[in-house]
């Protein structure tokens, strides 16, 4: 037994190397798309006047989650602006939004496919377990190797981290559609697509929205960690606070993260509930 060790690490290294060498153009393309999305959203968020942003978000909050959350948004964002963290907060928000858009685009169809194929479900589940339980920092390494430093690897690491609940809850929502509703759909002559769009998705929407909520929350926590590879935003302020043992800065930027988190959580929850009130 002496000295023998299964070289998992080496294999992963060579896999990453091989991918970079042979399909590097794919990563370049992903890099370009993600970068353009992040910067686009960021420039919009920072481009509109602060007060307009506050009014719009307060209105959204009011519509989806009620007066309390609207008031919270106004006070919270005014506070974030006041302590000079507006720009990093918007950078963080744009990272989260980009990651969430991609998570939705990939996770929703994947969740649906998994719900429809039991065999696939069994093989995907351990992968999702792995994605969720692997320490978040580990994702930073391949992200850096494929996309170097900056916002894009930050978004990619965030996507991997926040994808599982989106897939799981979509799949769960579809599977939970009562059998008799599906049967009725068939009895009235639905095509598979009609069944999905007219029966299954509307019924699963609440659960799917819970998935969106969960993945946004995870994305927000990951985006802070991703500051370690230069993703920027509030995370980098937290990091700076830690490195310089600056408790004040650390707490302020942490508070800004919390305000963003609560705002996003209440809004996505409200979206789910809104749809539930048939």
């Amino acid at each position: 037994m002496d000295g023998f060790r299964i070289p998992i690490g080496q294999h992963v290294d060579s896999l990453v190397d091989g991918l970079q060498e042979h399909v590097g153009f794919v990563f370049d393309w992903i890099n370009d798309v993600v970068y353009a999305t992040v910067m686009g959203i960021e420039s919009v968020l920072l481009g509109i006047p602060f007060i307009v942003f506050v009014v719009i978000t307060a209105l959204i909050a009011w519509k989806l989650a009620g007066k309390g959350v609207a008031l919270f948004a106004i006070i919270g964002f005014l506070l974030v602006n006041n302590i000079g963290l507006w720009q990093p907060a918007m950078q963080t928000l744009s990272l989260v939004l980009t990651a969430e858009i991609i998570t939705l685009l990939v996770g929703l169809p994947l969740g649906i496919i998994i719900a429809k194929h039991k065999g696939l479900d069994n093989s995907v589940r351990p992968v999702l377990d792995l994605m969720q339980t692997m320490p978040a920092f580990v994702y930073l390494i391949p992200a850096v190797m494929f996309f170097s430093l900056g916002r894009v690897p930050g978004v990619m690491a965030t996507i991997i981290f926040s994808m599982p609940p989106m897939i799981r809850l979509t799949s769960l929502g579809i599977k939970q559609v009562p059998n008799d509703l599906v049967e009725a759909g068939h009895a009235f002559g639905c095509t598979p697509y009609q069944l999905l769009v007219k029966v299954e998705l509307p019924h699963a929407l609440t659960t799917i929205m819970a998935g969106v909520n969960q993945s946004i929350m995870l994305a927000l926590s990951m985006v802070v960690i991703a500051a370690m590879i230069g993703a920027g935003g509030l995370g980098s302020m937290v990091l700076r606070g830690v490195q310089r043992v600056n408790i004040g800065l650390g707490f302020e930027s942490g508070l800004a993260v919390v305000i963003l988190a609560i705002f996003l959580d209440r809004i996505t929850q409200g979206l789910g509930k809104k749809k539930q009130e048939f």
């Binding site: 049967e183 009725a184 009235f188 002559g189 007219k198 048939f278």
Partner: protein, 396 residues
């Protein structure tokens, strides 16, 4: 005339390699044995029947008898393992997927036990669902849906959601959703079983009322013999995947073919507890043996429009019955009441079950006399009363 629906040797077996099960069935192996030896569940075992256009065909059986499976084979929600289903001359089992969808969208509607309404759709959109799937334009389908909602008596509710409606109303929506397609055939899978007895009765009557207007071919599943008897033009009783008896309500009640059916029909009586007292009427008039003359009795008969009259003595005990013809003859010939024949009348106690009365009263022109313990007349039961009472309870 050709039959609307013809089912020939239909078999549905669940499990892997079901064709093995078909062989075992043909060899006459029992259901339990096939389950234990081949791990196959027999849903429907070699069933053949036909349904005519405009008929209400009821399939009755306990849970696990295969009745729902049979119904689901008719629109291929379950794929039949073997056999043929021919509807309007077309073999359903041979249809391609697109042809099957078209068939489901236009020809065959289905109503479910637990309503299966879409909770996130309004009543209007629920009823319009089938038309939406068929691709009917929004305005057109909402117009049809609205008309159908009115047909089932739910106008005013179209913008509510299913959860806001009672069970009976929800099933009206379920019915409307199927009817909106204007299908030839309605499949109804225990549609009223989830409703409480009063509402169930009301829905049965509603269905019969609608059926008079629409004249659909209805295949109706139930585990309730009362329901089967009051709705079905013909009834098939299923057990363990087989049809054990098929016939009209009367045929099944009068001549139950095996123990299983007997048990069912016995249950009906026990659940009904119809006794003489519950269906008797107060006699409109009686002839008093000691007091009344021929003319008085004839006046009584005339006044109440009777076809015969019972004669009682001074203590109100039944002596017998008189025919009007005999009285008329007596009047002409100047005879007294003592000179005309008094016919024997069947008497029964208040607590006698109705079922045994049915046989007693069928061979006499007089109503049954219901008497108390002292033999005093307390009521009469005309044969027509008895039938009406049974019909009200859904036995005939």
């Amino acid at each position: 005339m050709d039959h609307k629906v013809v089912v020939e040797n239909l078999v549905k077996i669940f499990g892997k390699n079901p064709s093995r099960g078909v062989e075992l069935l043909q060899q006459g192996v029992a259901k339990d044995e096939i389950l234990s030896s081949a791990k196959l569940t027999i849903g429907v075992a070699d069933v053949s029947f036909h349904v005519d256009a405009g008929e209400i065909f009821v399939v009755m059986g306990l849970s696990g008898s295969g009745k729902s499976t049979l119904l689901r084979c008719l629109n291929r929600l379950h794929e039949p393992t073997a056999g043929k289903i021919v509807i309007d001359g077309e073999d359903i089992t041979a249809m391609t997927r697109p042809a099957l969808r078209e068939f489901r969208r236009t020809k065959i509607g289905m109503v479910f036990q637990n309503f299966a309404l879409y909770p996130n759709r309004t009543i209007l959109d629920n009823v319009a669902f089938g038309l939406e799937i068929r691709g009917v334009e929004k305005d057109a389908r909402q117009k049809i849906a609205q008309e159908t909602i009115e047909l089932v008596g739910l106008d005013g509710w179209e913008n509510q959601y299913p959860s806001e409606l009672s069970g009976g109303m929800q099933q009206r929506v379920g019915l409307a959703r199927a009817l909106a397609l204007d299908p030839d055939i309605l499949l109804m899978d225990e549609p009223f079983s989830a409703l409480d007895p009063l509402i169930r009765k009301e829905m049965q009557e509603e269905l019969l009322r609608l059926q008079e207007k629409m004249n659909k071919t209805i295949i109706f599943i139930t585990h309730d013999l009362d329901e089967a008897l009051s709705l079905g033009d013909r009834i098939a009783i299923m057990k363990d995947g087989w049809v054990v008896q098929l016939g009209t309500a009367e045929e099944i009640l009068n001549n139950p073919e095996d123990e299983y059916v007997v048990k069912f029909t016995e249950d009906v009586d026990r659940s009904k507890i119809l006794i003489a007292e519950s269906v008797m009427h107060k006699p409109l008039a009686v002839a008093l043996l000691e007091k009344d003359g021929v003319n008085v009795i004839l006046r009584k008969i005339d006044k109440h429009g009777l076809s015969s009259i019972l004669v009682v003595d001074g203590t109100h005990r039944v002596v017998g019955g008189l025919h009007p013809e005999d009285l008329v003859r007596a009047k002409k010939e100047g005879l007294s009441i003592k000179d005309i024949p008094v016919h024997e009348v069947s008497q029964t106690l208040l607590s006698t079950p109705l079922r045994s009365l049915l046989e007693m009263s069928s061979d006499t022109a007089f109503p049954l006399a219901v008497v108390d313990e002292d033999q005093k007349l307390v009521g009469v039961i005309a044969r027509s009363h008895m039938l009406a009472a049974l019909a009200r309870r859904g036995v005939i």
